[in-house]
């Protein structure tokens, strides 16, 4: 079986090379602190961490994206297309038959010229390679959601808090309900604000810990400020919810988004990018008429994506996602120390592909 999986991985990697990608290598043992900070809680919790006597905390490669972006930012050509193939390691905290060590094959495009073209190129390439497996595609666009939040009529603090929780739908919902004035603050909050108004904060005894009195004072100040902030208008909150709940074949989704953009003009640019992407996909032979689109797709699983996202699923829901990817422009900025480059890519898990072929 291992041989069949490796052969499948090599076949995919060769296909990516044929599509113009340079093969790129990454270490298996990577420095933990810098790397894990960039991933979401899920990958962090599942990474195998070990101690090196000289290099400190190290991690078994949980994913290729970050090391590949790092290598590109250090000495990559511009534009560039990369492919890689190798093991990734993730702890499985369940008795379900899930692999904790598996091969991953990927393709990444770093290109400034036409992002929607690059999105379409990646998706079409993956769709073509996976076509014999009869998988169902799913697509989304985190960028539209982010544009909608950035356009809300409220304070910058509230917009930033909502953006931070884009990838955690439950927290996002809780914040939105609070900011829209639909839920009351926790009694402890009301208590603190009353005490503040009366000019007497509760006595607490000794100050301990690294979080300083200034940091506490700053937060109290921002809480007081927030308490005086008018709620997000009900109409805007509802529009945002309509947007988040949108799930339809791509052309209908586009039509609906253009309708929503009449009342939410700030999403127009992102929606027209979606339209441009669909045109580019169609030009590459994708049947966009039947392509499923969900605005919220990828929200709970893909923390560093900030634009187009896609995945391919088997009919059997117990099989994990066979392939996924998306655009991660912001990550290149974080890793580029001031420089950035638009980037999009994805991975295929050959250990799931091989049995589907058998």
């Amino acid at each position: 079986m291992k041989a069949a999986i490796r052969a499948e991985a090599e076949r995919l990697c060769a296909a990516f090379r044929a599509a113009g990608a340079q093969p790129v290598e990454a270490d298996i043992l990577l420095p933990a602190d810098a790397l894990l900070d960039l991933y979401g809680e899920d990958i962090r919790a599942r990474a195998y961490i070990t101690q090196d006597p000289l290099r400190g905390e190290m991690v078994l490669r949980p994913d290729f994206t970050v090391p590949v972006v790092q290598a590109h930012m250090a000495h990559g050509a511009d534009p560039a297309r990369y492919t890689y193939m190798g093991e990734v390691f993730r702890k499985q905290d369940t008795l379900m038959p899930r692999a904790s060590e598996y091969l991953q094959v990927g393709f990444e495009v770093f290109d400034r010229s036409a992002p929607e073209e690059a999105d379409a190129e990646v998706f079409a390439l993956f769709a073509d390679l996976l076509a014999p497996l009869n998988l169902s595609p799913q697509t989304g666009d985190i960028g539209i959601l982010m544009a909608a939040v950035r356009g809300l009529e409220t304070t910058e603090t509230r917009r930033a808090a909502l953006l931070r929780h884009i990838w955690r739908p439950k927290s996002f919902r809780r914040l939105l309900d609070r900011y829209a004035g639909r839920t009351r603050p926790h009694p402890a909050r009301t208590r603190l604000l009353k005490a503040l108004e009366a000019g007497k904060l509760p006595k607490t005894g000794a100050h301990i810990g690294l979080r300083s009195s200034q940091e506490i004072a700053a937060r109290i100040h921002s809480l007081a400020e927030d308490a005086d902030t008018p709620p997000i208008p009900a109409k805007q909150a509802e529009l945002l919810e309509d947007l988040m709940a949108l799930a339809a074949p791509a052309p209908q989704a586009l039509e609906r988004l253009r309708d929503l953009a009449v009342d939410m003009p700030h999403i127009s640019v992102a929606v027209e990018r979606f339209a441009a992407r669909l045109r580019a996909m169609k030009a590459r032979g994708i049947d966009v008429g039947a392509l499923p689109f969900e605005t919220g797709h990828g929200r709970s699983s893909m923390e560093y994506y900030d634009g187009f996202v896609f995945s391919f699923h088997a009919a059997d829901p117990s099989v994990p996602v066979v392939s996924s990817g998306g655009r991660y422009d912001a990550l290149t900025k974080v890793l580029g120390q001031g420089r950035s480059i638009p980037a999009v890519g994805g991975i295929i898990r050959p250990h799931l592909v091989a049995p589907l072929k058998a």
């Binding site: 809780r174 402890a188 603190l192 607490t204 100050h207």
Partner: protein
């Protein structure tokens, strides 16, 4: 022979012996005081295995004991997919303790998980690393914080004297077991109001993957004597 694992010392052992004793199953230690051996009277075919409470989840998981008494917190934290590995037979009504999250009492702005999340976000921006929560209950705490959408934290391991980690600047918050809260107050800490992660108590568990062959008839007799019903998933052949 049905093997039952029971905590080997302290109040947990005494209360377990009392619980079974009051239901007509007498457990006692045998040999001298330092020897971990014991005997069971009242039901034929039960062997007492005295173990550290912390090891009982692992022994249940491996199927080396059929039944075990330990804290529900330990089973949930130490066993992945715990309910697929063991079944709850009875909650024993003692050994109560809550797994909670505590922060310095001087954090007047933090009373809830939502506050903790907001403080963690600002802390990371200010200090350049994630807010540290010291605990030994990694799985329970991580699952709870994930379910509640808290971000920008990291767990640091603390196997004892966890309340002291904040003063020693090795953590900003803690997640630990508390029964009265006195140690927390003495260390200038307070409990978050909406962060009871788990209400633990001593619980009798059955191992799903043990060899129940000739233990099954003993199990039926034992649960009848104890006035319990067989766990829903326990289907001895």
């Amino acid at each position: 022979m049905l093997k039952i694992g029971v905590p080997s010392k302290g109040r947990l052992m005494d209360k377990t012996f009392d619980w079974f004793g009051s239901r007509g199953v007498t457990m006692r230690r045998t040999g001298n005081e330092r020897e971990y051996s014991g005997a069971v009277d009242g039901v034929e075919g039960v062997q007492l295995v005295l173990l550290s409470a912390g090891e009982i989840p692992r022994e249940l998981s491996a199927g080396r004991i059929h039944l075990g008494v330990t804290g529900s917190d330990l089973v949930r934290d130490k066993l992945a997919d715990w309910s697929a590995q063991v079944a709850e037979v009875a909650q024993l009504g003692f050994g109560h303790a809550d797994l909670i999250i505590a922060v310095p009492a001087c954090w007047v702005d933090v009373d809830t998980l939502e506050d903790l999340d907001a403080a963690a976000s600002a802390f990371r921006r200010t200090h350049g690393f994630r807010l540290r929560i010291a605990t030994k209950y990694h799985r329970l705490v991580r699952d709870f914080l994930t379910a509640n959408g808290v971000a920008d934290y990291q767990l640091v391991d603390s196997q004892g004297a966890t309340e002291g980690t904040i003063r020693n600047l090795t953590a900003e918050a803690i997640a630990d077991i508390t029964s009265t809260g006195e140690t927390l107050r003495a260390n200038h800490l307070k409990v978050l109001e909406d962060a009871v992660i788990h209400k633990s108590q001593a619980t009798l568990f059955a191992a799903r993957h043990a060899d129940w062959g000739d233990a099954a008839p003993v199990m039926k007799q034992l649960v009848a004597q104890l006035g319990l019903s067989l766990p829903d998933v326990f289907r001895p052949v």
